[in-house]
Amino acid sequence: MKIGILAVQGDFEAHAAMLARLGVATALVRTPADLDGCDGLILPGGESTTQLQFLEEEGLAERIRRFAAEGGALFGTCAGTILLAREVQNPAQSSLGLLDATVLRNAYGRQIASAVVSGACQGKSGPLEMVFIRGPVIERVGAGVEVLAEYAGKPVLARQGRILAATFHPELTADTTVHELFLQLAASREPAAAAAANQ
């Protein structure tokens, strides 16, 4: 299995370090061709406005939509979740539109509101540590979206098919729970679909 990490801007190295600890091969994705042969793609934290510019102007958005249509797994953290959402507000901006959700940018406030908290997460017996940094809020999710964790009454970890989205940063903690969940989604891709996509 190989996991791509979008590396146009943001904390892609933190995700790479986490996957290295889990013994998974990674590829930094800066061009559409970099995604060839990957089973999953992580959209890291960072500035969504910056990342979006690269996605839209360098053919990456189209490539990622095709990757998703071919069964590739996607995992967004913070800015990555903003990119995945169908609708983005505060202010409105375009996105990949792959996750049936409405996301509000910087909804907790500026950096002074950034914090480390803990809360319950499906599939984990103890509390999950969550690092929020100028995080967005998932305001609405569609019927096909399963909420795996909430904080302060809002979804903070959600799954739709093989798409996983967190508004916090599991890559900035020592806890591998959320990344392991993503690896399961990536591994669940039909082998035939993967082979066809990589031809």
Partner: protein, 300 residues
């Protein structure tokens, strides 16, 4: 985390360094008003730095350079959605408290402004807003981190349009770190003494080969190729000061620098970034600048 220091809260430290992590691979642009901030954001800047005058104007006009006006910083914060940084004078903890009350996202304790204290830097662990500080070598970088800086940038020579000092400082820091990784435990105390840096941080760098916080570059970057150069030498992101808005083509140049910073290992992309460019800002030969006019020697 070792660098967190005695007086800081561990989780506060994590979110401070966490924001610095989010800025990696990006370009932070100096802006003096909301209009420039908007141009920077549209061009793909990952943050903006609010200041009263860009470094090349400070150099030209002289006088005391202070924190930017609160009114202008507020306008910039209201205009863009990306993080807003602002500069304070070295040692000016009251200016920093003003910026914290204003809720800027990052504070730069900067040698570009006129120092308020020639002996002491701010004790940055006392703040909840993260700080970035300049450094010319590893000892200086680790002293600032020990005081609570969550990000280090090379000082370079701000407002010069000349990348030579940023290169010197990045090469110095990286080679001093590489040397530490080759040393025996019993040699590290002497190295700590010579670099003037705390032993626990020296030991941490010896183990990891990296600074405990993100390591960015600033001071003299004027072209896309300059940005790619400092990235190749180890900078994890780039600050551009006068280089954007003192050029003949701020919109195009800002975007080109952003592109080259991301694709710093792809010569074809850097070539594309250069295709449409007009005139860069005028540059200065560092050897023609009087010792007393150098900004990089402020702070220690």
């Amino acid at each position: 985390m070792t660098a967190q220091g005695a007086s800081g809260n561990a989780n506060d430290w994590r979110v401070k360094v966490g924001l610095a992590e989010m800025l990696k691979g990006g370009v932070i642009m100096d802006v003096t008003n909301a209009k420039q901030a908007e141009i920077a954001e549209k061009a793909g800047a990952c943050a903006v730095m609010a200041l009263e005058r860009v470094p090349s104007d400070i150099r030209k006009e002289g006088g005391v350079a202070r924190m930017a006006s609160v009114k202008v910083i507020r306008e910039i914060m209201a205009t863009v959605t990306i993080p807003v940084m602002a500069k304070v004078r070295i040692g000016h903890l009251a200016e920093a408290e003003v910026l914290q009350a204003l809720e800027v996202d990052f504070i730069d304790e900067s040698e570009v402004l006129t120092p308020a204290d020639e002996e002491n830097h701010i004790w940055k662990h006392d703040f909840r807003i993260p700080f970035v500080c300049g450094a010319r070598n590893l000892g200086e970088a680790l002293r600032r981190i020990a005081e609570g800086a969550a990000m280090i940038r090379t000082k370079g020579e701000a407002g010069s349009g000349n990348v030579v000092e940023a290169v010197r400082h990045m090469r110095t820091i990286v080679s001093q770190m590489r040397k530490l990784t080759t040393m025996r435990d019993d040699e590290l105390m002497k190295e700590a003494k010579e670099l003037g840096a705390p032993l626990d941080l020296i030991r941490q760098v010896a183990r990891t080969g990296k600074l405990p916080v993100p390591n960015f570059s600033a001071g003299g970057i004027a072209t896309p190729a300059d940005a790619a150069l400092v990235r190749r030498l180890g900078a994890e992101a780039v600050f551009v000061g006068s280089g954007i808005f003192k050029s003949s083509d701020p919109e195009v140049r800002a975007k080109a620098v952003v592109k080259a910073t991301t694709h710093f290992e792809d010569a074809k992309a850097i070539l594309e970034a250069h295709e449409e460019l007009g005139e860069a800002m005028p540059g200065l030969d560092i050897r023609q600048i009087d010792e007393k006019d150098l900004l990089q020697t402020r702070g220690w």
